[in-house]
């Protein structure tokens, strides 16, 4: 296996951009990643485009990759379009990493582009609900807030987690979002405000659910020896692992075994363990999800995340900052862009370019991105570990 480095990143601000097209958002992110890498478009040998809801929202049902990459001069090379719900971006990243690692290409671009705001909100709601079993579960009334609220109720029963614990995640991530100029929301909230917001699915309130949003992110990957030609500060992809749900009907839903399998694969291939991680971007689509994912990946023991929050260990300045970017809750969650944006954040943090939200002495970062939900299990989970190589 060849080593693969991230040599360039680019990202739009996340937010509500009714007037901007998928192509337009993709162009901005890809162009800034290419410039950041110090390459020209003709150096790129393959493109991987992640998008989940573009077909439903904008009518661009196919070949978004060819359309958007053409805008930045990436033409005449293999291009793949990848959908894996909210993990589309990290799935695309994994494909590009494997292809370069295996020696098929030396340089590839990965982009995640999404527009969720539509003139008809119902369209957005339906597109997102499609990330589950439409035939059997959506038809009995399950949507994503409910999917997670059911687990939140169980966790409260089993571990004694309180609604205040859940709210703390929202408070923390919104605080971090205030320090990130690309964040969709830059507003502080108190625990009382989070708990007092409108209930979406009990016990979760609106401020415990990630918002819908538009945005794009892109990264340029390069074989690590060649990367030295473009940068003196290479950031290596130490390893990526993916898993999907087992949907077992006797599962203990207070532990996310899907995250354990994805993380184990990433830890094995990278020879890095959970104890080596300095900070992590974790898929906090709902406050409860951050608990389940951090514990599933073995970053703390099952049931222990409540204490980490109480001891402020996962805030900026703590032992293991979680979601320094603001996470999905504050930075926003343009579905397929999320996984790629997490890699942008890891890159900035590891290079010391994260400004006011900089994690001190960050050498190894983890990005976790999940997608979909089936039978109370996750559909897909991807864990990526990046490290500083200088």
């Amino acid at each position: 296996m060849r080593q693969v480095a991230v040599i360039g990143v680019g990202m739009t601000k996340f937010g509500k951009f009714i007037e901007r097209s998928l192509k337009d958002l993709g162009r901005e992110a890809c162009w800034s990643a290419i410039k950041n890498a110090g390459i020209v478009p003709k150096d790129i040998q393959a493109g991987y485009m992640a998008n989940a809801a573009g077909g439903v929202i904008t009518g661009q049902t196919m070949v978004l990759g060819e359309v958007a990459f053409r805008e930045v001069g990436v033409v005449g090379v293999p291009i793949l379009n990848i959908e894996n719900a909210c993990a589309s971006g990290s799935s695309a990243l994994m494909e590009a990493w494997m292809a370069i690692s295996a020696g098929f290409y030396d340089i590839a671009i990965v982009a995640g582009v999404e527009k969720l705001y539509a003139s008809d909100t119902q369209k957005t709601v339906e597109a997102l609900a499609g990330a589950g079993d439409v035939e059997l579960e959506m038809s009995v009334g399950v949507n994503f807030p409910a999917h997670w609220a059911l687990r939140a109720t169980k966790r409260m029963e089993v571990f004694g987690t309180t609604r205040e614990h859940f709210a703390r995640v929202s408070v923390k991530n919104h605080h971090n979002g205030c320090l990130n100029p690309r964040s969709q929301y830059q507003k502080e909230f108190t625990v009382e405000q989070v708990l007092g917001a409108k209930t979406i699915a009990s016990p979760l309130t609106q401020l415990e659910c990630s918002p819908i949003g538009d945005g794009a992110a892109a990264v340029v990957l390069c074989e690590s020896k060649l990367a030295r030609k473009y940068t003196t500060q290479p950031i290596l992809i130490a390893g990526i692992g993916m898993s999907t749900g087992t949907y077992s009907e006797t599962r203990d839903i207070t532990f996310n075994d899907i995250e354990a399998r994805a993380a184990r694969a990433a830890y094995n291939v990278s020879s890095i363990g959970p104890e080596d991680i300095d900070f992590a971007e974790v898929h906090d689509c709902f406050t409860i999800a951050e608990f389940m994912r951090v514990e599933g990946m073995g970053l703390c023991k099952p049931g222990e995340y409540d204490c980490l929050l109480e001891r402020r260990e996962v805030e900026l300045g703590g032992r293991l900052p979680i979601n320094p970017s603001g996470g999905l809750l504050a930075k926003g969650h343009p579905v397929a862009a999320t996984g790629v944006a997490q890699i942008c954040e890891l890159n900035w943090q590891l290079k010391g370019e994260a400004g006011k939200r900089q994690v001190e002495n960050a050498r190894i970062g983890l990005a976790h991105c999940s997608g979909g939900g089936i039978a109370g299990d996750g559909a897909v989970s991807v864990v990526s570990i990046l490290k500083k190589d200088y």
Binding site: L136, S139, G141
Partner: protein, 149 residues
């Protein structure tokens, strides 16, 4: 037509439609209660809901059609305030466990204001009724569960 007992497919009114064919078994003449329809592997005994034609555990294609028990226990629940289109909010959703080791996500037919009465392990029974309405007024009929008195 609320209530699981004594109904047949002919009990459905013109403006009512099943959520999906093949999930619910009604007695032919409406003389007995409907059941959820599943399949059981004749080799390893694994039960599949919805019914499957083959067993992915042991490659067996000899499946026996079975009616699931009409009783279940509550595993966890939530009250949904912002729901799927066509559902009247708020509504209660739960995961319920059936004796055949089948876990279902389902609506719980109970007053959402009193959801705190519902506790894990509580005994529930199957009820066939309206899940949601389509824009043209069609009622979608499916399975839900309610506490046993």
């Amino acid at each position: 037509m609320e209530g699981a007992d004594h109904m047949s497919t002919s009990s459905l009114r013109d403006n009512q439609k099943l959520m999906k064919e093949g999930l619910i078994r009604f007695s032919d003449d409406g003389s007995g209660p409907p059941h959820l329809l599943a399949s059981r592997c004749s080799k390893c005994g694994k039960v599949y809901f919805p019914a499957k034609q083959f067993c992915t555990e042991c490659m067996n294609e000899q499946m026996e059609e079975i009616a699931l028990s009409n009783y279940a226990t509550l595993y966890t629940r939530t009250v949904v305030y912002m729901g799927v289109k066509g559902f009247e909010t708020p509504y209660i959703l739960g995961w319920v466990d059936l004796p055949e080791k089948v876990r279902l996500v389902t609506q719980i037919d109970y007053d959402p204001q009193k959801a705190s009465d519902l506790h894990p392990g509580q005994k529930l029974e199957l009820v066939i009724g309206k899940l949601r309405s389509l824009a043209d007024g069609t009622e979608i009929i499916g399975y839900k569960y309610r506490p046993v008195n």
